[in-house]
């Protein structure tokens, strides 16, 4: 009967500490105006991606040969493209693709990376060296090139872009999680819990994972920004979403052919990418400051 008593005794201060930690985090986060703006913007973007398509002025796919390449006007806020489609409506519709690719690829990379990082850091030894050398190899591919190679093999589609970006982000998460796992594993209280008979999975899920969450959230937010840029790059190269999907990278690629007559076709989708990516970047920066125990503000 002694064991539950120990747990109980231990769990109370930890819980208190946790809520205190959250309060501290919230206080710092609230002070960081840029981060709050980022969070609000992302919330708005999600809202737009869900309900926006019901309120767009035109059907994003509706072709209108008589309205080709019209400059921005009160009828068409962002003008029309080479098929006469309303660019504003297409950008609103494209928001969901952008967010979906960003969130899902990073989520996938996060899960796999976390798993590998925990195995690596917790079990150490040869398993650790093997996994980490594999991660080094993945990091040896410069920038977008690994994603490009994967998509070239699997074929160009939004699904394959998500897979490619996930693979591309795995090593980053694996390294972070491994680092925190190593740090926590060495603490004495982990030995104590082990001695009390706690299983590996209990130690991992109850004690190690919670400690990795804050760096992971920060990294995930910043990686979503990179993922959106990479995905739009792949679509721009014709390896991602295929026309007539209103994906922003693909729209930019269309606009490329009309730079002389109608620069707005390329301008607005690019601006949309910039704004969404900025929102994720400032949120990520703000979260980092808020989680950082060293930061004063």
């Amino acid at each position: 009967m002694g064991q539950p008593a120990i747990n109980e005794q231990k769990s109370i201060p930890i819980k208190k500490k946790k809520s205190q930690r959250f309060k501290d985090f919230y206080k710092k986060f609230k002070k960081n105006k840029a981060a709050v703006i980022g969070a609000i913007l992302i919330f708005l973007f999600i809202l737009i991606s869900i309900i926006g398509p019901f309120f767009v002025p035109y059907d994003p796919g509706a072709v209108s040969p008589t309205n080709k390449l019209e400059p921005p006007s009160s009828d068409h806020w962002f003008g029309t493209d080479h098929h006469g489609r309303d660019i504003f409506s297409r950008i609103i519709k494209g928001m969901s693709y952008t967010l979906f690719v960003g969130f899902s690829s990073v989520f996938l990379g996060l899960i796999v990376g976390t798993l590998l990082g925990i195995i690596s850091g917790y079990y150490g030894g040869r398993t650790d060296s093997f996994i980490m050398r594999c991660m080094d190899v993945l990091l040896a591919f410069p920038g977008i090139l690994l994603a490009l190679a994967i998509v070239s093999v699997l074929g160009g589609s939004l699904r394959n872009v998500i897979i490619a970006i996930a693979v591309f982000s795995v090593p980053v998460f694996a390294r972070i999680v491994r680092g925190s796992t190593l740090a926590v594993r060495k603490l004495e209280y982990i030995d104590a819990i082990k001695a009390l008979g706690a299983s590996d999975s209990r130690i991992i899920f109850k004690h190690i994972l919670p400690n990795t969450i804050s760096p992971l959230i920060v990294q995930a937010t910043l990686t979503i920004a990179t993922a959106i840029l990479t995905a739009s790059g792949l679509s721009f190269l014709g390896l991602g979403a295929k026309p007539p999907t209103p994906e922003w990278g693909a729209m930019l690629s269309d606009g490329r052919n009309y730079l002389y007559q109608a620069p707005h076709v390329a301008f607005y989708p690019g601006m949309a990418i910039v704004i969404v990516v900025i929102a994720f970047n400032i949120l990520g920066d703000g979260l980092r400051d808020a989680f950082d125990p060293k930061s004063k503000k």
């Binding site: 190899v137 090139l145 190679a149 190269l237 930019l252 620069p263 390329a266 990418i273 910039v274």
Partner: protein
């Protein structure tokens, strides 16, 4: 130091092998029969068999890899399916175009990034600092291919400047495509260098801020050293150490970004080569280009690590 360099070079061997394994495996990840896909769907069976034989696809997997690796070590990256020429020859001078593009871009990003970072850090929270960091945030969040298109529209097609404004020419200042002359180089280098400049600016700023708070800087000021000497001689020297690593990592981003930049500006470098090869389903060429770019990146990181060690002798790399 010598031991460190040798050890660091030895460490790249497993990475090199890993990269070759992945690049080699790419061909085998192709859903379906790679030979059929490369030959085209309607190709006669004989031609497909021919390709299969040429690529050695009939051999067992380890044998294929062994052959691939020994060929790579001898500088033989196979033959392009479409042109039939040596992949090494195909990459040939394009390699140098991409290296040149990446080099100019990294020079530009280090130059702009350092200046912006130092100026921001010296006057933290000033109007200048906030403006520069906003620009950096924008640069960081911008797809470089979009910036490329916008630069073409503004500076290579012609500025939309009213004719009554003196000294500004309405004709195009730079060329929208190709590589070689000054007019062709400027826009791609700005396109590719901006993202890196933004990252380096942010890194320099935070690194400088950390250093400026240290005791030895206060000591230097207390001794009556001029502010300029304090910033450039005492602070910057130490603040640069973490920036070096970022510059090395940036190089990888640049090689990747070169794919998009070269596509936008129709530059015949390695980036455009890989895109053309992907579209033509010319896998040996894709493999070769990806391998060369990765090895280049590994090499640059090796040099950066050695420089880092040289700059910061306190660090003990086990």
């Amino acid at each position: 130091m010598f031991v460190f360099i040798i050890r660091r070079i030895l460490q790249t061997i497993p990475v090199f092998l890993g990269v070759t394994i992945i690049v080699f495996s790419l061909m085998h990840l192709i859903p379906g029969d790679p030979a059929q896909i490369m030959a085209g769907e309607s190709a006669p069976a004989e031609q497909v068999e021919n390709i299969r034989e040429r690529l050695g696809l009939n051999d067992p997997y380890p044998v294929q890899y062994w052959n691939y690796l020994s060929n790579v070590l001898q500088g033989d990256l196979g033959n392009s399916i479409r042109s039939g020429r040596d992949v090494t020859t195909e990459i040939g001078h394009r390699f140098w175009i991409t290296v040149e593009l990446a080099f100019y871009s990294i020079v530009l990003s280090v130059f702009l990034g350092l200046i912006a970072g130092i100026v921001s850090a010296v006057k933290q929270y000033s109007f200048r600092d906030v403006t520069l960091m906003l620009i950096a945030l924008f640069g960081l969040s911008m797809p470089n291919f979009w910036l490329g298109l916008m630069l073409i529209q503004w500076f290579a097609i012609g500025l939309d400047v009213p004719s009554w404004i003196p000294f500004i020419d309405n004709t195009a200042w730079f060329k929208p495509s190709g590589w070689g002359s000054f007019q062709q180089i400027v826009l791609p280098v700005i396109t590719l260098g901006t993202g890196g400049a933004a990252i380096i600016a942010r890194m320099t700023r935070s690194s400088m801020l950390e250093v400026i708070d240290q005791d030895y800087i206060r000591t230097a000021r207390a001794k009556g050293a001029k502010e300029r000497v304090v910033i450039y001689r005492h602070a910057l020297k130490n603040a640069l150490i973490p920036v070096v690593t970022v510059v090395g990592l940036q190089f990888g981003g640049l090689l990747g970004g070169a794919v998009l930049t070269e596509t936008v500006f129709a530059i015949n470098g390695m980036g455009k080569l890989v895109i053309d090869a992907i579209q033509a389903r010319d896998f040996p060429l894709v493999q070769g280009t990806v391998l060369v770019a990765s090895l280049l990146f590994v090499l640059v990181n090796l040099i950066v690590d050695i420089t880092y060690r040289y700059l910061n002798k306190r660090i003990d790399f086990n």
